[in-house]
């Protein structure tokens, strides 16, 4: 057999380097190599537990493989080692040394790691004790809807990064892919109980700095909680593969002092009242078309595309579509099953076409339907009023 000394030394250096890299990642507590700075009690707990565990496993790694590397250097044929013939512990002392590592491992598993982990789980799952307020989060392909049951506020939060930045024709902004039109605003220092659900597929709501990640499951409620300790803007993303634009549904939370939060609630309520008034007034066709284009780009274009060509077969074209070019309502003003209005309001089960009735206002729905019937080469010429949508709900 050939002499392999230099190679073994290389091997030694490589594994030693690997150990150091692992250790550096934990001991430096440098946040580009570790969790982003936590701002909730759960986040702080998780980070300190993570750091402690990383040190434990690094020590285990180094000790175990130091023994192995020592053996690889000493017990080589090329340095004249003679093979021993043992194949198991042979006396009480050897049995003792064999069992010691397992006793240590048991202690690490169920005491050193197991006890803090137990308390962290109990704390994380205690969503109800002394909760100050509730935030309801609904995942939709591919945006988040937020509701504040205490104040009746409800809005949808969508990615605002322009297509041009994603496709590389424009320089990428600072918060590329992590910016939205409507941020969730939460007061600092309050325990917020977060209820999660979804209208279509499973999504996962995740803000790394909160140390909280929970699935939003269609047809069920899941819950978690946060108590944000510092004001600021915190960014996260959907973490469960939820279809085409899974990578494009960020979570942005703005944490503000309580007074500022109260002001925001008042402002939102006024906006909601103005939007509700929009349902009752009569809109001109031009107004509907203009509002429809804006709402279409935000809510529909991801699948049906900017020019209504769709991505068949998953996402059908609206241009020349039989459904879009079908009749609007029945002669007595009722909903026709599987018609254009029915699709937009109620969606289609088993497909990505969701029910928009719950997420969009009467005005937005009327505007989108009017816009689609008179764009992309569709020339229906008709229109629907927000008041008519309101009557169909």
């Amino acid at each position: 057999m050939t002499t392999l000394n230099p190679r073994a030394r290389g091997l030694y250096r490589f594994f030693a380097g690997l150990g150091l890299t692992l250790a550096a990642g934990t001991a430096l507590a440098d946040y580009t190599w570790n969790f982003p700075k936590p701002v909730t009690p759960i986040g702080r707990d998780t980070l300190s537990m993570h750091n402690q565990f990383m040190i434990i496993i690094t020590v285990l790694f180094v000790v175990v493989f130091a023994i192995m590397i020592y053996s690889m250097l000493k017990h080589r044929k090329s340095v004249g080692a003679q093979p021993a013939s043992f194949s198991g512990p042979r006396n009480a002392l050897q049995w003792f040394w064999v069992l010691v590592p397992f006793a240590i491992l048991l202690f690490i598993d169920f005491v050193l790691m197991g006890i803090p982990a137990f308390h962290a789980v109990i704390d994380m799952e205690d969503t109800r004790t002394r909760a100050d307020m509730v935030l309801k989060v609904t995942g939709l392909q591919w945006k988040w809807q937020y509701e504040y049951p205490d104040s009746g506020i409800k809005f949808v939060s969508t990615l605002t990064t322009p297509r041009a930045q994603i496709e590389g024709t424009e320089a990428k902004g600072e918060n590329y892919l992590l910016e939205v039109d409507n941020e969730v605003v939460l007061p600092i220092g309050k325990k917020v109980r977060i209820l999660l659900t979804s209208t279509d597929v499973i999504h996962t709501w995740w803000v790394p700095q909160f140390g909280v990640k929970r699935d939003a499951i269609p047809g069920f409620l899941r819950e978690t909680w946060v108590r944000i300790e510092e004001p600021g803007v915190y960014r996260g993303q959907c973490a469960e593969l939820c279809g085409k634009d899974h990578g494009f549904m960020p979570v942005v939370v703005r944490a503000v002092p309580e007074a500022e939060y109260a002001a925001w609630v008042d402002k939102k309520k006024t906006e909601m009242a103005a939007a509700a008034a929009g349902s009752d007034k009569a809109w001109t066709k031009d107004e509907l078309m203009a509002a429809g284009k804006a709402a279409y780009d935000k809510n529909c274009a991801a699948c049906h595309q900017a020019e209504g060509q769709g991505i068949p077969p998953a996402f059908p074209a609206l241009a020349d579509s039989k459904i879009v070019n079908g009749p609007l309502l029945s002669p007595d003003g009722k909903l026709i099953p599987d018609s254009h209005v029915d699709r937009v309001m109620n969606g289609k089960a088993g497909t990505a076409m969701q029910s928009f009735k719950t997420t969009l206002s009467d005005a937005d729905l009327a505007a989108i339907i009017t816009f689609e019937r008179n764009s992309f080469g569709n020339k229906k010429g008709d229109m629907i009023q927000p008041a008519q949508i309101k009557a169909l709900r």
Binding site: Y176, D215, F220
Partner: protein
């Protein structure tokens, strides 16, 4: 035993055996079938690898450069299905076919025709998996399954024809694996050489025995789960739809009841192989044979009862969270027994570092990282941060690339001279090892840090703070991918010719398989050897 041996040799006149393509289509010889499994596995390894290199190329920089998100989603899911079902599992089955009869002194597998059928189910399944890509080019359907390999409902209920193709591919692959498992169990239990007790049986056979039992227990559950998905998609059932009284999480339970044992299904044959390699190149008997057998069994049993740690963020009740956390942590004990035995086998040996030994050592160290990160992943509160992130991606590639694929490479270099009768190129083998180990770490070590920094998995585009690590990872992945061409070339060279290998091949070998010539005769152990206690 003897009557069985005669009954299994129906050919009589060997001159009548078909040649050319018909030989391979009709063969019932365990060595031929083993070779076909290995060749198929190598081919699919490159198919799955090419898919993920396209993904890594897209992730080289932020922004969408090369592909649309929907195509990206297809590539990641099919990459996983191909690598798991068409590359790693067939490689392990190929090893089993070649080596189990040689190791236990059996003339062939117990059920040779079933064996042939088991292999020939694989190519149609691989075609089913990848065909939707081609159909989409002709405007039929919208491409392959785009839900990730986990097929989570209701996303998979929503998906296109690719999901149906994947469901049928999984059914066929499952049937193939179950047939292979029945065959291996029947062979091991009935055809060991007289005098070879179960406890004396080589550890590779033990690893496979536990694997085969796990496959038979878990695959029917997966088959049931995907069939329920199929009926939800097309026949109006509501197993996974809350509106009809179903529950999407039910699918996750069914999937991971198979999916977690699957990890051990991929790893147990490798854990079985390691002691053979270590004992050979340390020139010393295996340490703790019996302890390793019981560890395999313990890991198999524990592996069946920890599945929900794959969805700890799905909102399980607290008692379930605690149970799955502690039961997962307890797997570290039998696994530590294996590590202890591997290192104790090396201790005070007379080691030399030919390519198989290098891969074995690389396997032990890097798989150690997978095991240790697995231990912290079990912690429910910290898992909330790691889960669905690149930390998990890095963790399971340390488990399945270094644990699975590097383990298979260990076996290929170790047994290739026995199979072909020629030595492979040691120089190329070592080059392959070093390139693989360095570029593997270059690819996956940064992914741990990406996960900690908060990058979710399965996204085609990412925020700017993740750019540097992704660029490093992509460079690493291309070196890793290209290095595997050396592997393929080295195998090709070795099959074609080269220095003659002796019967024992390596200096420190022991076991029945090394008593046969290299390559072994087409029919070996027609008269079973007798093992004396």
């Amino acid at each position: 035993m003897n009557t069985a041996t005669h009954a299994l040799d129906p050919h009589g006149a060997h001159a009548a055996a078909p040649t050319g393509i018909l030989r391979w289509l009709t063969t019932t010889n365990h060595k031929d079938i083993g070779t076909m499994y290995m060749t198929f596995s190598l081919l699919m390894f490159f198919v799955g690898g090419a898919m993920i290199l396209a993904v890594r190329a897209e992730l080289f920089q932020p922004g969408l450069q090369l592909m649309k998100p929907e195509f990206f989603n297809q590539l990641i899911g099919v990459h996983a299905l191909v690598m798991i079902f068409a590359a790693l599992m067939p490689a392990a089955t190929g090893f089993a076919n070649w080596m189990i009869p040689l190791m236990i002194g059996a003339p062939d597998m117990a059920l040779p025709r079933l064996n042939n059928w088991g292999f020939w189910l694989l190519p149609p399944a691989a075609i089913l998996l990848t065909l939707p890509f081609v159909l989409a080019l002709f405007g039929i359907g919208d491409g392959a399954v785009a839900t990730g390999w986990t097929l989570y409902a209701p996303l998979s209920v929503q998906g296109g024809i690719g999901v149906d193709f994947a469901i049928f591919a999984i059914h066929i692959l499952g049937v193939s694996s179950i047939m292979g498992s029945i065959n291996i169990i029947a062979t091991i239990l009935n055809m060991r050489a007289p005098g070879m007790t179960l406890m004396q049986m080589p550890l590779f056979c033990w690893g496979w025995l536990v694997t085969a039992v796990l496959l038979i227990i878990t695959l029917p559950v997966l088959a049931g789960g995907v069939t329920m998905l199929l009926t939800d998609r097309h026949f109006g059932t509501h197993f996974f739809d809350a509106a009809g009284g179903g529950d999407p999480i039910l699918f996750q339970h069914l999937f991971w009841f198979f999916g977690h044992p699957e990890v051990y299904i991929l790893l147990l044959p490798v854990w079985g192989l390691m002691p053979h390699v270590l004992s050979t190149f340390t020139r010393k008997p295996t340490y703790g044979h019996t302890a390793q057998v019981w560890s395999f069994i313990a890991i198999g049993v524990l592996g069946l009862v920890v599945w929900a740690h794959h969805f700890l963020t799905a909102g399980l009740p607290v008692p379930a969270l605690l149970y799955f956390m502690y039961s997962t942590m307890s797997i570290s004990l039998p696994l530590a027994v294996l590590f202890f035995c591997w290192i104790a086998t090396m201790w005070r040996g007379a080691m030399s570092f030919e390519t198989p030994m290098l891969f074995a050592v690389g396997f032990i160290v890097l798989f150690g990282i997978a095991g240790l990160t697995g231990l912290v992943l079990a912690d429910v509160a910290a898992d909330a941060q790691y889960h669905h992130s690149y930390f998990v991606v890095a963790h399971f590639h340390y488990a399945l690339f270094t644990g699975g694929i590097m383990g298979v490479m260990t076996g290929v270099y170790y047994w290739l001279p026995k199979w072909t009768g020629h030595m492979y190129s040691e120089k190329l083998g070592k080059l392959h090892f070093w390139l693989t180990v360095v570029s593997f770490n270059l690819t996956f070590m940064p992914q741990f840090f990406l996960g900690l920094a908060g990058m979710p998995r399965r996204i085609p585009d990412y925020a700017l703070q993740f750019a540097e690590f992704n660029a490093i990872s992509t460079v690493g992945s291309f070196i890793l991918g290209l290095s595997q061409l050396i592997f393929a070339y080295n195998i090709w060279r070795c099959v074609k010719g080269g220095e003659k290998a002796s019967d024992a091949v390596w200096e420190g070998t022991s076991g029945l398989e090394w008593e046969l010539s290299s390559p072994p005769p087409h029919h070996s152990w027609e008269i079973q050897p007798v093992i004396k206690a």
